[in-house]
Amino acid sequence: MASLVPSGNTSTNHPYIPSTDLERQEMLGVIGVDSLDGLLGDIPVEHRHPDLNLDVGLAEQELSTLFGSIAAENASSSSGHISFLGAGSYSHYIPSTVRSIMQRGEFVTAYTPYQPEAAQGTLQVGFEFQTVICQLTGMEVANAGMYDGPTAFAEACLMAARVTKRTKVGVLSSADSRLPDTLLAYSKYQGIEIVGITPDATEIPDDLACIGIQSPNFFGEIEDVERLTKLAHDNGALSVVHVNPTALGMFKAPGELDVDIVTAEGQPLGVPMAFGGPYVGLFACKKAHIRQMPGRIIGRTTDTKGRTGYALTLQTREQHIRRERATSNICTSTQLIGLMVTVYTATLGKQGIKDLANLCYQKAHYAASEIDKLNGFSVETMSAGGTFFHEFVVKCPGSPAKINAALLSNKIIGGLDISDRFENGMLVCVTETSSKADIDKFVKALSEIGASA
């Protein structure tokens, strides 16, 4: 039911809206109408100016107080909690350079670089980003970023289907279920069938478009990417590998193993966990497949005076030109998060990226060996002889949910309860943000809880 709100007479002068009553009157006069209602002629009268149950606007100070109270209801390091959660989102220290550059309005409030002359900053950063992804993964080309890791993986599998002209996609059973779940959402109406492949498979169906491998896998272990890639190639399929970018500071780059497409979640590279987003999906592939690569791509070129410049290129793959024949419907991407990744990797540099991987590895392996010593607890890779980076599975003496509840009363957020995939399993992650004291506190708490379980 419409209410009788006089329109065009809003004398709210909000800080975000400069026009005054006088200026509005002047403009309406130029337009040739008496009031705003004269411009709303096409909106059905009976539906105009509906009742809206919204609060009154807050002053900035009140807004700040509101958010303070919201933030205070969440447990994080700022409330004195320590956490051992990973599984796709990771706690890493974010250097001051990243936060500083991230606040520059020229980056934050710029638009997509469709007018390249007005966006050389964004474009050159994007070119650096593509370069970094190639350097980390060892691949030939990369795009300027996708929404997140799982959607990048889904797009990679769909690309493999396009390239091989096959409709079956294989996904290793040791992958995070988020990967095939997202792939399913993207592929369910495109005639794609998703098939589970075991990590020790020696044969695969001969009509697979790809084998999708996560390494380190969901359980933190390194998969035999080289063997699986050969298996894929021997069957005319592509090798799609989803990696952890921090691990690439020490573990072999997939580009050295003849992998066709590499994807990853870019969040660990300088992006806050932020309750799940925004993140950035990394996507790189062999040069031969470049026309099938989704997402934005930035290329180098020259201007009319021969000076170097950068521009979006190969745009004819994209939705604004191909429409229903586009490689993907992606439009807005995650450029600003890509900037954070680029500043982060430039800051860490050649030595830092190596030191960081080593720190995470050392602390995680220390934690694993201490937990493995506890009565009733065992670390799965330690018995199976697998290699892990900074995540590992702990077999608990009882329900991980109960153990986590007890840990919480000690202000410890325990690892992820994965008992749906592994009996009494807890996926523990340790990064450089956990001190030895934090780890020892965690181990001690587990030992006390385990003793009374």
Binding site: T10, S19, E23, L39, G41, P44, R48, L63, F67, I70, A72, E73, S77, S83, L85, S89, T97, E106, F107, V108, T109, Y111, Q115, E117, A119, V125, F127, E128, L136, G145, D148, P150, T151, R178, D181, T182, Y189, K252, F275, G277, P278, R300, T304, G309, A311, T313, R323, R325, A326, N329, C331, T332, T334, Q335, A346, G349, D355, Y361, L416, K436
Partner: protein, 489 residues
């Protein structure tokens, strides 16, 4: 040998070309745990080739690059359908509070009650604004929200055993993501014509809507910045045929507090938080594209949806959810910014946003219509679509006008969209701009029109004073160079 002073020259070398072996920008702490056994060397790699620069070089490099950009903070950006409004700085500050930035998405619900409460409150506000109460904040961008909306439409028909519904009807004026998303959802795209007023041709729609129609995708206001005068009839035609109406909410900035999409008969819509709700464009994202639906369709929403129960706030999966469309909960810190924006404006503020957006766009239209053709001769909503047809006949295309505007520090409007308008220039000032800025823009557009006769080369060779002149995009596509290499730099 002497060095020519030229403060205007910008060093465009990439980081790897500035790299000097041994330099570093950062130190990590030493390990405080006993040394662990390394894996077999067959697992390990050689050093990653990353830059070696000092910390000041990092700061200086990216700071200088930022200055090469146009941005809302520094320039007027009348990009039609992009809603380049002021991105309030308080929103960035609040979204980055440690209690919001440092929480892990898989933390138990009881440890993130504040975060879930924020999402629930935002869902309710967006539901109230659009009149479509079922809301999921999961989609990471408008295109994902669109796709989620189409998945919901398909799930709805499948649940009723109506598997013949495989067609999406899309206007010829639609944004490219509409048919792209429809194709991804396995729907056949059928195009409905626009009439010469830029409205959906109702008779053509009547012919096309039938028992195969899954969904009709409409943008409200349209991509011409116009409100469909026949919207109620259009939605009735679609509903009578058994299909659902999906509204692309990219242009919601024209409708806040003025009309609810749900009241008009829309079943599903998405919104772009990075347009209407002031979250930053960031040079191309991140965005957020929440999907809103009627009560009846809420059970199909993508997971997760924030809910309030007797036990507190939870992230839940609706009973017939189409599933997860990405990794976690959506763009939380983008949602937090949009939430701050809505709270700062309140009901009156939001109404004022749309009212001022509409008045400003019409003001520009009124002041330029004698020089530039209008795509449709009627009042517009929050954006006006000009056509540079007359200018093209005199030798200057819409593209040239766009480049010349850059010389005046004004970002070009959206060009060549919608495709049904010849030499289209879509101008959306938003409510953030002062009348002085609008008048300046109008004066510049009028001057450029004069320049066509007096000095056309000024326009054809524009832009003149930016870091680069027009770029050779053909070579960039023919011989792509997509990364730094030691040989090419």
């Amino acid at each position: 040998m002497s060095i020519t002073a030229n403060a205007g020259d910008i060093d465009r070398r990439l980081l790897m070309d500035r790299s000097v072996s041994g330099r570093k920008a950062f130190t990590l702490p030493e390990s405080d745990v006993p040394v662990q056994r390394m894996p077999d060397s067959s697992f390990l790699r050689d050093d990653v080739e990353l830059p070696e620069v000092s910390q000041l070089e990092v700061i200086r490099y990216f700071s200088v690059l930022s200055q090469l950009n146009f941005s809302i903070d520094t320039n007027f950006y009348p990009l039609g359908s992009c809603t380049m409004k002021y991105n309030p700085k308080i929103n960035d500050e609040l979204a980055n509070l440690p209690g919001l930035a440092d929480i892990h998405p898989l933390q138990p619900d009881e440890t993130v009650q504040g975060a879930i409460r924020l999402l629930k409150d935002l869902q309710d506000d967006l539901g109230e604004i659009t009149g479509l109460p079922g809301v999921s904040l999961a989609p990471l961008a408008g295109a994902q929200g669109e796709y989620a909306g189409l998945l919901i439409a398909r799930a709805y028909h499948e649940a009723r055993d109506d598997s013949a519904r495989t067609v999406a009807i899309v206007p010829d004026s639609a944004h490219g993501t509409n048919p792209a998303s429809a194709a991804m959802a396995g729907l056949e795209v059928v195009t409905v014509r626009s009439d010469d007023q830029g409205n959906v041709d109702v008779e053509n729609l009547r012919e096309l809507a039938n028992e195969n129609t899954a969904v009709f995708m409409i943008t409200i206001p349209s991509t011409l910045g116009l409100f469909e005068p026949n919207i109620l009839e259009i939605n009735k035609i679609v509903h009578d045929s058994g299909g659902l109406v999906y509204a692309d909410g990219a242009n919601l900035n024209a409708l806040l507090g003025l009309v609810k999409l749900g009241d008009l008969g829309v079943d599903i819509c998405h919104s772009n938080l990075h347009k209407t709700f002031s979250t930053p464009h960031g040079g191309g994202g991140p965005g957020s594209g929440p999907v809103m639906v009627t009560d009846e369709l809420a059970k199909f929403l993508p997971k997760p949806v924030a809910m309030k129960t007797d036990a507190g706030y939870v992230m839940a999966t609706p009973e017939n959810s189409v599933g997860a469309i990405n990794g976690f909960h959506g763009s939380f810190s983008i949602a937090a910014r949009a939430y701050a924006y809505i709270k700062a404006l309140g009901l009156e503020g939001l109404q004022s946003v749309s009212e001022n957006a509409i008045i400003s766009a019409n003001y520009i239209q009124a002041k330029l219509r004698d020089k530039y053709d209008l795509a449709a001769d009627r009042y517009c909503m929050h954006e006006t679509v000009l056509s540079a047809t007359k200018q093209k006949k005199r030798g200057i295309a819409g593209l040239d006008i766009a480049k010349r505007l850059l010389d005046f520090g004004i970002h070009a409007p959206t060009m060549y969209f919608p495709m049904i308008v010849d030499e289209a220039l879509m101008v959306e000032p938003t409510e953030s701009e002062s009348k002085e800025t609008l008048d300046h823009f109008i004066a510049v557009m009028r001057q450029i029109d004069d320049e066509i006769d007096s000095s056309p080369e000024l326009i054809l060779e524009a832009p003149h004073d930016l870091p680069v002149t027009r770029l050779d995009e053909a070579t960039a596509a023919r011989k792509p160079v997509l990364r730094w290499t030691a040989e090419s730099g």
